[in-house]
Amino acid sequence: MTLYIARRLVWTVVVVACVLAITFAVFYLLPAGDPALRFAGKNPTDAELALIHQRLGLDKPWYVQFGKFSKNFFVGDQFGWPGLGYTYAGQTSVKALIVQRAPRTLLLIAGAAILWLVVGVSIGVLSAVKRRTIVDRLAMGFALVGISTPVFWLGLMALYIFWRQLGWTGGTGYVSPIDSPTGFISHMILPWIVLALLYAAFYARMTRNNLLETLGEDYIRTARAKGLPERTVIFKHGLRASLTPIVTMFGLDIALLVGGAIITESVFNIQGLGYLAINSALQQDLPIVVGVVLLGSVAVALANLIVDILYAFIDPRVRYA
């Protein structure tokens, strides 16, 4: 087990290193324009450009640049670890900007993830157990609606009904839970539900299909032949075996949302990471985009690591493989 985790850990570091290299190549080597032009402001002189080149290390060969880029990332720069440099626009720390925005996105994802996991898996189980009944039909109807409803439309409708018409919830924008816990929840409840709905629908379908497949296995028949109550058969023997693909999806879905909750963030004006990345891309503020991309990739790599470890706990066959 320790060996297994160690192997996975080494692999994760390798993946992060690859991500770093690809990100560097895409953002610093491929663009035709000179990054120094972005720093220099309007109508720079050649002397100014040369100075910036020197300061940014752009006069060095690419491998020296990449070395510095990697060193900053792993060891840190003047703004601390991980070193992500400073923005073109304000010459401020990219890291500070991301640290300021990240909690919004992470809290949005966390709340939604809990919601969709609980609701999605429950509906899926219910639907599988009550297969071919009206309950199953309703649940799968819900799933179809959830999957096919566009998030922006759902978000706007939710805001219109629950905020403007009924006044039950807070409106757009973000309220820090430290400033006002009730305001935080009141503002987050709609984004949570809207973001969770699509995923809950997916998870309901996935849980139902996995569970139905598992319930057809021979070892489920053995469990019944032992005289176990149907409850135990389904929740202990059935659900455990159908959980593995769900854990995989869950890990990846959360990680992908780190930079990908952009639509929900936009509709509810929560200025999180996705929002930051899009705006920076529009303003061609490269270091910020690089920072968010790196964070997102590292999140995916870490989620994979966690999923692999969870896997080994759920399925003993993985441990001995």
Binding site: T222, A223, A225, K226, G227, P316, Y320
Partner: protein, 345 residues
């Protein structure tokens, strides 16, 4: 027939199982009747799809009641298992009637320790501590011949060989000293050398606990070694049913003859094997008359029209379902007569 008299454990009357499908109704088991006593091994033989397994699943209540139509009676200790509420049946399942399945690779849950799965069978019907249940699991694993049972109980199924898994399944079935052990092709998935060990283990268990065993198999050799009574099934119906000695010495049904002809033995060279031509009929639209007639070498006028009932041709003979004249049954049966060396009866 009177029930529950001296030693009769299970009395099955007119068991019929139908599965409604989108293409029509599949009648997997038709009018099957038999009984089982303590200390008896009933061998059930037939090709795949002959209804052997389905009958047993019906007896165990393991068929989905909403999607199957089951009729007839399955009387166990004065109660009809087919009309018992699901929760009452659950208390019999695994306690009084236990089952060992065909594929030990698929029948154990891959994510739980072998010991835990057996201990779970203990606590399913008995209010004991987890430690006591585990101790019982280890004791049983040891009993069925798992070496180092104490440490092997902590293994997962994938760390067991096929034979060991089947032993574990038998250990699981023995947890509550059941009256009936149903073995559904327990050796089909195993190596030949292991097959003999498992059959021997089942026989030992039968003698030791004085239980009734239903042994489903398509291996006539296994039946010849162990069974007291034999039931030959084809297309969901009983073709021939009687004491094992009679079935092997004086087989009466052409289907049984076919099975015996296609069975290799030491005396008979492989070239002398005669397979049964064709394949079993679709149970969605079984042939009229005798279900075996399309493949039968002895068929004559009544076979495609009248279905022969399961009756004894003579008082001293066992019941069969065939139109052939008794003389011919005797003559043809004698050609296939097998005298068992070590008669278990």
């Amino acid at each position: 027939m009177s029930t529950s008299h001296d030693g009769t454990l299970l009395d099955v009357r007119g068991l019929t199982v139908r599965f409604p499908t989108s293409d029509g109704v599949v009648q997997a088991v038709s009018d099957v009747s038999f009984s089982l006593s303590r200390g008896e091994t009933l061998g059930v033989v037939g090709e795949s799809g002959s209804g052997k397994s389905v009958s047993n699943l019906a007896i165990m209540g393991l068929l989905n009641r909403q999607r199957t139509a089951i009729s007839g009676q399955v009387e166990f200790m004065g109660r009809d298992l087919l009309t018992l509420p699901p929760d009452d049946l659950r208390h019999i399942r695994g306690k009084d009637i236990a089952m060992v399945f065909q594929d030990p690779f698929a029948c154990l849950h891959p994510m739980y320790r072998v010991g835990a799965q057996i201990a779970e069978a203990v606590t399913a019907h008995q209010d004991v501590s987890k430690d006591a249940a585990w101790a019982r699991a280890v004791e049983l694993l040891d009993h069925v011949g798992i070496p180092n049972a104490k440490s092997r109980a902590r293994d997962y199924p994938h760390q067991f060989s096929g034979g060991m898994r089947q032993r574990a399944m038998i250990a699981m079935a023995l947890v509550h000293n059941p009256s009936i052990l149903i073995c559904d092709e327990p050796t089909t998935a195993l190596d030949v050398t292991v097959q003999a060990q498992i059959i021997e283990l089942i026989e030992e268990v039968k003698r030791e606990f004085d239980i009734g065993v239903i042994l489903v198999t398509h291996d006539l050799g296994v039946v010849a070694e162990t069974a007291n009574a034999v039931m030959v099934m084809y297309a969901g119906r009983i073709m021939e049913y009687g004491p094992a000695r009679q079935i092997f010495e004086q087989p009466q049904h052409p289907y049984t003859w076919g099975l015996l002809d296609s069975m290799p033995s030491i005396e008979r060279r492989l070239t002398a094997l005669v397979p049964i031509e064709g394949s079993p009929p679709s149970l969605l639209a079984p042939p009229p008359g005798c279900p075996f007639h399309p493949r039968c070498r002895y068929r004559f006028e009544p076979c495609p029209v009248d279905r022969p009932p399961l009756v004894s041709p003579l008082p001293e003979a066992h019941p069969d379902a065939c139109h052939l004249a008794w003389d011919e049954k005797v003559r043809e049966g004698a050609k296939r007569s097998v005298t068992r060396l070590g008669d278990a009866a």
